[in-house]
């Protein structure tokens, strides 16, 4: 599983939306849900792994929304059939210019080759939903053996709140 890389940098972009970063979350509680078509057990397990990892590595807390997604849920996991990409992130509702209220995180089921692909892609797309950009040293890169966030990225999530 190979994807596009951002150039490594001492100070990377954070939560500016362009290029390749997401936006800051609207609070320290990161809600997530699965759309009706997110019907892969492996995919759901990988998303839960990614949410657990986010909670474990950062000061963010996860909150699963059951009974269907809401328009304001922070991370809405959606199935994608776009065969040209592994996944994608779209902010669908802003709080302001640098905070996203709700985002779709899409994973292309057919491109996931195994458990590590699922987990790395889930960690990656979730990372955009908390403002992270592409990098080479953690799951914001493309190496499917990288399944966590780097200390640098953890610092962004924990410290760049406003």
């Amino acid at each position: 599983l190979v994807g596009i890389l951002g150039r490594p940098a001492m100070a990377d972009d954070y939560a500016i939306g362009y290029p390749s970063s997401g936006f800051k979350p609207d609070s320290t509680v990161h809600q997530f849900c699965f759309s009706d078509d997110y019907n892969s057990d492996t995919g759901r397990d990988a998303a839960v792994y990614a949410m657990d990892n986010l909670e474990g590595q950062t000061t963010m807390e996860k909150e699963r929304i059951s009974g269907g997604c809401r328009e304001v849920t922070d991370a809405r996991w959606n199935k994608s059939t776009d065969q040209s990409v592994d996944g994608s992130y779209t902010c669908v509702e802003f709080v302001n210019l640098h905070k996203c209220d709700s985002a779709r995180v899409r994973v292309t089921f057919a491109r996931m080759g195994g458990w590590n692909d699922w987990r790395q892609t889930s960690c990656h797309e979730l990372g955009h939903s908390v403002g992270l950009t592409h990098a080479v040293t953690d799951c914001m890169g493309t190496d499917s053996s990288n399944l966590e966030y780097s200390p640098h990225h953890v610092g962004h999530v924990n410290l760049d709140r406003d």
Binding site: V2, G3, I4, L5, I16, G17, Y18, P19, S20, S21, G22, S35, D36, D37, Y38, I65, G67, G68, C69, R70, E71, R76, N78, K79, T81, D82, S84, V85, D86, G87, S88, Y89, T90, C91, V92, E93, F94, L97, H98, C100, R104, R106, T121, H124, E125, H128, T142
Partner: protein
């Protein structure tokens, strides 16, 4: 001034620009009287010189794709060979399109993932003319976001002097995917096309002599080969670069 202040200013300027243009249009004969808001947007976009770089930065601001680097796949020449519709043209429209249904939300309303269409009038068509509808127009599908109204970014793409190079494949959804308003923004004869590679929809800016992906910020490291592939389409990009733009943190202006 922070980047956010800069973007806010640009957004305000955009609104002011549109407002002023509408006022001038109305003063020249009340041409917009009785028009719908969509028609007013269309009228405005016809008299506004936009920039495909601004359009690209707007799209990339809300959507990030995870993809294989184009150059690792063999540059645009390889993508061309894998594509059904390839050419160079001018953008004539940006329109709302269908939505993919992901099921229902908790309140019972449909969970719809919106798409939009970039409408291109080909100037050079290297392949795929037989696939296009009677209009001869090319409809390129990509994600939309309700957080970024099309009316706010249309003017960046329509009316610009920038050209666009496209390497496209017909969209083929699996049967289990439910599409809502499948033909919104096009006729049933117009095929729905998507970039064969997400970086293979490129803006061509004559003034800055740059060719750059619209949907990604990929740098296209194999620039010579990629520019050669574009030249084979009649894009005339000798001496261009394939650098990707980035907003200045102070002004919000896009530069290399």
């Amino acid at each position: 001034m922070s980047i956010w202040t800069g973007i806010e200013l640009l957004m305000r300027n955009s609104v002011l620009r549109r407002t002023a243009l509408l006022a001038i249009t109305a003063a020249l004969g009340g041409l917009v009287a009785g028009c719908s808001s969509d028609e007013q947007d269309e009228a405005t976009s016809q008299v506004t010189a936009g920039s495909l770089k601004d359009y690209a930065s707007a799209l990339q601001r809300v959507t990030v794709y995870e993809h294989d680097p184009l150059d690792e796949l063999g540059t645009l020449q390889t993508v061309s060979e894998q594509s059904q519709v390839v050419g160079v043209g001018k953008v004539t429209g940006v329109q709302s399109a269908y939505a993919v249904s992901h099921g229902k939300l908790a309140d019972g309303s449909p969970d719809l993932d919106e798409h939009m269409l970039l409408v291109i009038e080909p100037q050079e068509l290297a392949q795929g003319s037989e696939l296009l509808g009677p209009s001869g127009l090319v409809y390129v599908d990509h994600y939309a976001s309700p957080a970024q109204p099309i009316s706010e970014i249309r003017e960046d793409a329509v009316g610009t002097e920038d050209r666009v190079a496209f390497f496209l494949t017909e969209v083929d959804y699996p049967s289990e995917v439910e599409l809502v308003d499948e033909f919104q923004g096009r006729t049933t004869d117009d095929p729905l096309l998507t970039p064969t590679h997400v970086s293979a929809l490129l803006g061509i800016n004559e003034a800055d002599r740059e060719a750059f992906p619209l949907l990604t910020n990929e740098l296209l490291e194999g620039s010579d080969e990629n520019l050669e592939a574009l030249n084979e389409l009649g894009a005339d990009v000798d001496g261009f670069t394939t650098a990707s733009g980035k907003p200045d943190p102070e002004s919000g202006e896009i530069s290399e």
